[in-house]
Symmetry: C2
Subunit: 341 residues, 2 copies
DNA sequence: TGGCGGTTCGGAAGCGCTTCCGACATCGGG
DNA sequence: CCCGATGTCGGAAGCGCTTCCGAACCGCCA
């Protein structure tokens, strides 16, 4: 049995503070029944020795794990990583450790929900921007801990997200106010997340805005694809191949918009003179392409989700169960009025 | 059938297998001194009840934690997230949990090394693409566990990275072979990582390539900045403001290159007709801007790092202590021969 | 002054596992 | 046929903590 270099235990703290093991434990875990004086004394001794309770022992003895699992479907995409960073920030400040589970393929996803590797290891779970199926929800319930959904609603869990319908409306209104009428939409759908409500609501906004402007929707101007840039490029190519180009393109995400941009440029179309393009996200690299977009505070959503988790863990009944963070239009260089003619 | 909370213990397994607790433990952990027959019997009982040892109890009793910490300086950047995904992939397959620590500011970094939140919680640590100082190395040693550096060498830890000098040479050779002579360099340096060797070696490649081609280096064509796109844009602007434009720009990263690209376009310079631009990374979004670059297998580096960690944990003396993954030039649309004249 | 409810604290029993140590059986060689 | 080496296994002692239970003590009212 190998011993770690530092072997300060609760017993040492208790001894130095002149209290029993039981009291020391209560003092550190902020339990009921310890006088403020004693508590502070124990705490200061612990701080002084930079002592932290062994999570293993604590958990084993029936306490909390001090850990939260975050399940993320696509780690290497900015949106997810950024939101994860937000969650991490809050948890770190609270001294909670973050267990990461990436489920970027259907196989991994199935594996995760079948084996439930987080079982008995965490006090709560954050489901990052993907909708769980009913079956998965049942599996997750087996963990017996609180769950929050970040970046989208899911299975009645407490959630934090943006108003996708409003975001879509912001994008469409911008295009419409510039005078566009022939507006294409490249909708994003991911095989990992069939039926992700965000998509539908962003599509809904498209149709609503068109209707409100008295413009008949043309199904030939709508394409579906995955969230990636290459998919956006392909959809745009398909759009161009099958008829006269639209004067504007509303993409469900910045990555998709960037893909569309590349296709347009390769085809010799000028942006925004010939075609305007708008996305949603405000991806930092999209700014480098001068993409007009709708900004959403991704990191902020992550942070809010982190706070919700903290509330769940501490059983705080006043903790928020829903949060919608606002979005805002960011006009850059890829949108302009349509050409006269 | 899995119940929550799952209350099957080793004792149950032992009883059903007709052995003692001690033997059951040995059988499951593959220790010495158990006959093959007994071991298989215990294992099949465990499988049948889908039993897994409680990591808490196991660790408390002197076993491993089954956890690895990954320290990453900038989660939301593709490079780091992608590499993290690689590490996660390997660890997940091995049944190891991944504890994430993001240290994206100097404060967080100091906090991490001072408090060592990973203390007593992990079997190994992966330091993701940032160099630790001597002082930090000493703190890290306090953890008493193995450490591997991914995405760059650091403090004599086992490492996996690319050959930055070779990568830089690939980029420079491409530019030179196109006939460029007036080549600018936008070097990246991050405040989080002073003296990061990758930078120096990418710069070294610049000077070596120039020298080998018999072209005198012009200090006026070199700029330093952070890794971000905005910094690249600023550096490019500065470059343009202070003299006749170069015919080519060698950027230390794709994000920097994308920034330079934006500045060039805003200034009305055509790419690659007027100015060629090359980066390093092969960022997926850079492909959407048709950026010529040097590809590095980021995810692969992460996976390799994950395997090194596994080797460390299992005390495998044959485990590799160093890996250099190859890079390759990817020619796209932002480079071409210089204009005649 | 006696008794009572409330507060603060200590003793001690585990939580589920690993591993030291020693018991026992078996087996080959002298 | 006996003895020690070898191979298997069980008993039991923790690992560091939480929490139940009850003891001690406080102030207060009758």
């Amino acid at each position: 049995m190998l011993r770690s270099p530092d072997r300060v235990t609760l017993a040492d703290i208790a001894a130095r503070a002149g209290v029993s093991l039981a009291t020391a434990s209560r003092a550190l875990s902020d339990s009921y029944g310890v006088s403020p004086g004693t508590r502070d004394r124990v705490r200061s001794v612990a701080d002084q020795l930079s002592f932290v309770v062994s999570p293993e022992a604590s958990r084993l003895a029936g306490g909390r794990t001090g850990r939260v699992a975050v399940v993320v479907p696509h780690l290497s995409r900015w949106f997810f990583a950024e939101m994860l960073a937000g969650v991490e920030e809050v948890l770190r400040e609270a001294g909670i450790d973050l267990l990461l589970y990436n489920v970027d393929t259907l196989d991994h996803r199935r594996h995760f929900f079948e084996r439930l590797p987080a079982r008995r290891k965490v006090d709560a779970v954050v489901v990052l921007a993907f909708p769980v199926t009913e079956e998965e929800r049942q599996r997750l319930d087996l963990l017996g801990v609180g769950i929050v959904a970040a970046g989208g609603q899911s299975a009645r869990y407490p959630f934090v997200c943006i108003d996708d319908r409003a975001a879509g409306a912001q994008a469409m209104d911008h295009l419409l106010s510039l005078g566009h009428e022939r507006i294409a939409m490249i909708a994003a759908e991911t095989p990992l997340a069939p039926g992700w409500p965000a998509v539908n609501r962003r599509s809904l906004a498209y149709h609503e805005a068109l209707a409100a402007a008295g413009i008949p929707a043309d199904p030939a101007l709508v394409r579906d694809g995955d969230w990636g840039g290459e998919e956006g490029a392909a959809a745009m190519a398909d759009l161009l191949a099958s008829g006269p180009p639209p004067t504007a393109v509303y993409a469900h995400s910045d990555e998709v918009a960037l893909g569309a941009l590349r296709t347009l440029r390769r085809e010799g179309l000028r942006v925004p003179e010939d075609v305007s393009v708008i996305g949603i996200d405000d991806h930092p690299l999209a700014a480098l392409s001068d993409l007009t977009t709708v900004h959403q505070g991704v990191r902020e959503q992550g942070r809010t989700a982190g706070q919700m988790v903290l509330g769940l863990i501490s059983q705080d009944p006043t903790a928020a169960r829903a949060a919608v963070v606002p979005t805002r239009l960011v006009v850059r260089g890829t949108t302009g009025p349509p050409r006269r003619g």
